[in-house]
């Protein structure tokens, strides 16, 4: 299936020298950003009372701060694009899993017919039996059928049904003991326990759509860094979150922000950011980013840090 027809999957960062039409050409390795580490060292050995040093230092600080801001904006844009692509992929996956489930049901029904069992016996329907003998007979048949089916049942090859486990690090106020991670979904807490390896308790949540949605979440304050909450998600939501984007991912991709970054001129980055519906997007971004993560632990960690960056930025402005 040519997915490119549904979704514009270019990152659309409009960054030079990387070609916006070829996100493959985006840096595979760490992006080299000019740092002022040398300058720091330089100023450390200089006389502290030097006024000129101070002003240059402030200039450098301003430059680095501006670069920091640009990086955060770029990261947010990449996250948005990633999110749009991810939700599109999830839609495709759920569609695919629906398609694979249909033949399975058909096969099960065929097996019932083939074995001479009444249709619907295995699908939760109960039959009213006038005598205990009949009931016993059916029960025996049911057991026999289950044994046969368990032998014949094909191995589930649908990788999308496998429980996906992902971990997200979310910054949290150390005074907050609620162990709440706002990720755009609603959760029901069903337990809490203290673990050996961590003084903070671990809270267990189920998706509010349970039992139809199998996703579970564990939240615990990080033992290494108590300012972070570690949220572990098991499974994939089979529904959109309450604050999810409406409509197709295509339309989201069309309304994403355009970032222009000039890495060539002026020795720094010149960024022109055109934002459409910035407020809405940011709001949704913050709420949704944490909820749609891959199994890639590196990504989950980076995304959590991105969220924290966005929150910090918002709190400053």
């Amino acid at each position: 299936m040519d997915c490119s027809s549904f979704l514009d999957i270019s990152l659309d960062l409009n960054t030079n020298p990387f070609d916006r039409n070829f996100p493959d050409k985006l840096p595979k390795k760490e992006v080299k950003v000019s740092t002022s580490a040398d300058l720091e060292r330089k100023w450390l050995v200089k006389d502290e009372g030097d006024e000129q040093s101070g002003s240059e230092l402030r200039e450098e600080l301003n430059r680095v701060n501006a670069e920091n801001k640009k990086l955060k904006e770029m990261l947010a844009t990449v996250c948005e694009n990633y999110y749009a692509l991810h939700s599109h992929l999830e839609k495709l996956q759920s569609r695919q899993s629906e398609q694979t489930e249909l033949p399975t049901k058909k096969r099960k029904q065929d097996t019932d017919e083939l074995l001479g069992f009444p249709i619907g016996l295995g699908s939760g329907k109960t039959e009213n039996s006038s005598s205990n003998e009949d009931h016993h007979h059916h029960h025996h048949q049911h057991e026999q059928k289950n044994q046969l089916l368990s032998c014949k049942r094909p191995v589930v090859t649908d990788s999308f049904n496998k429980a996906k486990v992902s971990t997200v690090l979310v910054p949290a106020d150390s005074s907050d003991t609620s162990l709440t991670v706002k990720d755009g979904y609603q959760w029901r807490k069903y337990g809490q326990k203290v673990t050996r390896d961590n003084p903070s308790p671990r809270a267990y949540f189920r998706c509010s759509f349970a039992p139809s949605c199998p996703v579970k979440k564990k939240v615990q304050r990080s033992a290494e860094d108590p300012s972070l909450l570690v949220a572990t998600y098991e499974g994939t939501h089979n529904h959109l979150g309450p604050n999810a984007f409406e409509g197709d991912a295509t339309s989201q991709a069309g309304s994403t922000n355009t970032v222009t970054l000039d890495l060539v001129h002026g020795g720094g980055h010149r960024l022109a950011l055109e934002k459409n519906e910035r407020g809405t997007m940011q709001d949704v971004l913050v709420k949704q980013m944490a909820s749609l993560l891959t199994n890639d632990s590196k990504f989950t960690a980076s995304l959590a840090a991105a969220i924290s960056g966005r929150l910090l930025e918002q709190s400053r402005t």
Binding site: I9, P23, L26, P27, K28, V33, W43, V64, L85, T294
Partner: protein, 39 residues
């Protein structure tokens, strides 16, 4: 003391920049992986 405070702040922002750059690189890689999955 002002200079040392500025240097400290510069260090902090530089470290944050470095982290952001790494994250951005990582995100680009992840994006490309996802894109290849879709293609």
């Amino acid at each position: 003391s002002t200079t040392s405070a500025l240097v400290d702040e510069l260090k902090r922002v530089n470290a944050e920049n470095k982290k952001l750059t790494e994250m951005l690189t990582l995100m680009c890689d992840n994006y490309n992986v996802l894109k290849n999955q879709l293609m």
